[in-house]
Symmetry: C2
Subunit: 140 residues, 2 copies
């Protein structure tokens, strides 16, 4: 069952990388109380608002690729439950469309809640946040 959760979780990143709004839409429970937090942003409530934000984001992203590390599926209700919490670290490589083929990297952490509906795992909630690196101060 964890594998099905991971497949839906990975499909989410595939949708962002390929700008596939239909895939993104299919991955969310359609409800007014779902939620999504983009790094550094306020909370968005409801699938309509969440998908609108992804539409705008994906239209402006340009090249982006997610290398996920430390992906962990937690099943708080046991292996037969219908809720999964997935945590991961997103190592993000993105191209700067305005610059000359330059790439930038970034790191975020994410906690997602997925629920099993009609045999499919779908996102109920997603919270991503920037990892703020502590700068090492070099001794003179």
């Amino acid at each position: 069952m964890s594998q099905d959760v991971l497949t839906a979780h990975r499909a989410f990143y595939d949708a962002v990388e390929t700008g596939d709004l239909d895939l993104m839409t299919s991955l969310w429970v359609d409800d007014t109380t779902t939620s999504c937090v983009h790094p550094g942003a306020e909370i968005l409530h409801g699938t309509t608002s969440v998908l609108r934000s992804w539409t705008v984001l994906m239209a402006n992203l340009g090249y982006i690729q997610f290398f996920l590390t430390d992906v962990q599926v937690q099943l708080p209700l046991g292996p037969d439950g219908d809720v999964a919490v997935v945590t991961c670290t997103e190592n993000i490589l993105s191209g700067q469309e305005m610059a000359d083929d330059s790439f930038t990297g970034g790191k975020a952490v994410c906690t997602s809640v997925l629920v099993l509906r009609g045999g499919r795992w779908q996102f109920w909630s997603r919270h991503a946040s920037p990892v703020i690196e502590v700068q090492e101060v070099e001794e003179p």
Copy 2:
């Protein structure tokens, strides 16, 4: 039922404000796969690590008070389910111990997952992140 979730959710902030580690401990499911993200930080896994981090944080916090706004309880499995997702905005007032009675404010958003165990709602996962305000640029 939402009220019981909210009572546990508020107790969490009471524990931080009063530095009550026993209360904080009682509010978490004791499991190796629970998770917690402090604002700007990496993910912590397992209740032992999570409580250790809160012990250190609470020992160093000094005066702190949380004014919660936009608190919303989501019940992805319906009103009889045993999982709740709570989102809120934390408006934080904290005293600077080293300064002369000065106060600083901050804002974070938080998504928590609580589960019903033995008749009590307990935290399974918590993800808090800073709200990064976009600075308005004043026209000259």
